[in-house]
């Protein structure tokens, strides 16, 4: 299956992926309305320790700890994509406790959220990849 991969040598640390992600998942069709002045909840984040930058988002692990650990049974795998059922999630953040990549975080309403490859939103393909100016993030089979 296609996943999002990061080539850190190409990452400029520009954080555009975070903005594109937050917009794609906002449900709004105007980027300014979605993001300007609002706290944003991207599902990808840039880690930066001064020397290097790279984007981190859900790895869609083949044997995901979050799925096995979710106390509500709210996380499942559908055709290889790890998905969170926001309706079932109670926001206990056990998924945050166990994800070894730090790729899950609470969303605006407290339920956990993470990258679901933009398959359910209007973007239809990962917005972080589409908007990455240096092709540091790619969406492909490996």
């Amino acid at each position: 299956m296609k996943r999002v991969y990061v080539n850190e040598q190409w990452c400029l640390g520009c954080h555009l992926c975070e903005y594109n992600c937050a917009f794609a998942n906002s449900g709004l069709d105007d980027m300014v309305k979605a993001l300007k002045g609002n706290p944003i909840f991207p599902r990808v984040h840039i880690e930066d320790d001064g020397k290097i930058h790279y984007a981190v988002s859900c790895r869609h692990c083949t044997d995901p700890l979050c799925v096995k650990s979710c106390i509500a049974g709210a996380i499942s795998i559908e055709d290889g994509v790890v998905r969170i059922d926001r309706n079932k999630c109670v926001g206990c953040l056990t998924c945050v406790l166990v994800c070894p990549y730090g790729a899950v975080a609470p969303g605006p309403e407290g339920a956990a959220q993470k990258c679901e490859l933009c398959l359910q939103n209007s973007c239809g393909e990962p917005a972080c990849v589409k908007g990455c100016p240096n092709n540091a993030i790619v969406y492909e089979e490996r």
Binding site: Y5, E47, R59, A72, G91, L93, G102
Partner: protein, 411 residues
């Protein structure tokens, strides 16, 4: 075709079913459930009372779970286990034979023999869905509630009912709240949050005797109440395992393959005492993720596979009134403790011999899983990376090559 029997219908049982079915799609699986419910998430009962979920959404697996996995769900209580004949007897006298058995019997509330407890009418434990529904029936805006036990169960109960009762007092013999997962510094932060929401504490003190609507404490103090919740602790359900001749300690002793000492009998979940890699010894780890992973490991092995679960560590993610807390690992007294106060919260890292052994985060729990992984995988860090790790959990502590595998490969 094998006959698989699972006693218990909680998280470990689901793990076991999914483990079996990953290797064996055909053989029959029978689940014996003492509770007459579709499998639900036990830790969600406090959220149910709080109105954050309902009995439908609490289902731990979808409504068609048993059907899809070709599982026969039998409501009843197993009362006898003959490990020689490989036969289980139910309370109804019905008998079931098995080729492979998994005990997922969980734990039950431990209620000490308090003098006068029989005089208390409205008394509850807080473990099952039925417990929560029974408690819900007596909640009213004027009720004074006394909760005995300031552990995870007692405090989640307090949070769940806080808006629906008049007052809540929590007592515990321990000198701090959540004493099983928090040290004094962290417990104080959490206690303050709970107190801000009207919950009062009597710590280092506990009820010794009850009258109809009053508890007499060890200190001699008296606490009036209308509703009593007993959340002193839990005990592994090991009776069937004893009968079957399995080695039993605090829980049913299992190896890293979830086999008990009795042939063809496995155990998983809160009833089992499995390997805890953080202390390098067997221990009951009554936490939900552990139940699932043990169950799954048992299931795979019951179906002839070779699964091993040897890296369990204690870990908890729990929040009260919006203040989150994440903890994992062990807390050696002879190592270094790094403390910081990000965003008004508290963070304490327990470090020894170049390894993060355990941590407590209250407030900001972002990317806590990176810390948990360092504990679980026993990662040794050099001085530079140790400093980076202390500041913030991030993948920057790994080499570019290791990170390349994590972010550039299928994991």
């Amino acid at each position: 075709m094998a006959e698989y029997v699972i006693i218990g219908n909680g998280t470990a049982a689901v793990g076991c079913i999914e483990g079996i079915r990953s290797a064996d799609k055909e053989s029959s699986i029978t689940v014996i459930s003492a509770e007459e419910h579709h499998v639900y998430s036990r830790p969600l009962i406090s959220y149910l009372l709080e109105g954050k979920t309902d009995t439908e959404r609490m289902k731990y697996r979808p409504a068609d779970f048993y059907e899809k996995n070709n599982v026969k769900l039998l409501f009843g209580r197993a009362v006898k286990c003959d490990s020689k004949k490989q036969v289980i007897t139910l309370e109804s006298k019905e008998k079931l034979s098995y080729d492979k058995l998994c005990l997922c019997t969980g734990s039950s509330p431990f209620v000490p023999k308090f003098e006068g407890l029989d005089k208390v009418k409205k008394k509850f434990t807080f473990m099952t869905l039925d417990d929560a529904l029974a408690l819900e029936k007596v909640l009213d805006k004027k009720a004074r509630v006394l909760i005995v036990g300031a552990g995870l169960i007692g405090l989640k109960c307090a949070e769940g009912i806080a808006e629906r009762v008049g007052s809540i007092t929590v007592c515990d013999l321990a000198d701090r709240v959540l004493s099983s997962i928090l040290d004094g510094e962290c417990a104080a932060v959490m206690q303050k949050k709970l107190e801000e929401h009207g919950i009062s504490f009597m710590l280092g003190d506990t009820a010794v005797r009850f009258e109809k609507d009053k508890a007499v404490m060890k200190s001699g103090a008296e606490v009036g109440f209308d509703i009593l919740v007993l959340a002193v602790g839990v005990r592994a359900e090991t009776e069937l395992a004893r009968q079957a001749g399995c080695d039993v300690n605090r829980g049913i002793v299992v190896g890293t393959d979830m086999k008990t000492s009795a042939e063809n009998i496995f155990a998983a979940g809160d009833c089992a005492e499995g390997y805890d890699s953080s202390v390098e010894a067997n221990r009951v780890l009554a936490i939900l993720p552990n139940a699932y992973m043990q169950g799954r490991c048992a299931g795979i092995n019951m179906a002839g596979g070779t699964a091993v679960f040897d890296n369990a560590v204690p870990m908890n993610s729990i929040g009260f009134f919006g203040l989150h807390c994440a903890t994992a690992g062990s807390y050696p007294e002879d190592g270094e403790v790094y403390e910081a106060h990000p965003c008004g919260g508290i963070k304490r890292l327990y470090i020894k011999d170049g390894r993060l052994r355990g941590y407590m985060l209250i407030g900001d729990v972002s990317r806590a899983g990176i810390y948990t992984a360092l504990v679980r995988e026993r990662t040794v860090l050099d001085e530079e990376n140790m400093d980076k790790m202390k500041k913030i959990p991030s993948l920057a502590i790994f080499s570019s090559q290791t990170r390349g595998k994590k972010l550039g490969g299928v994991v």
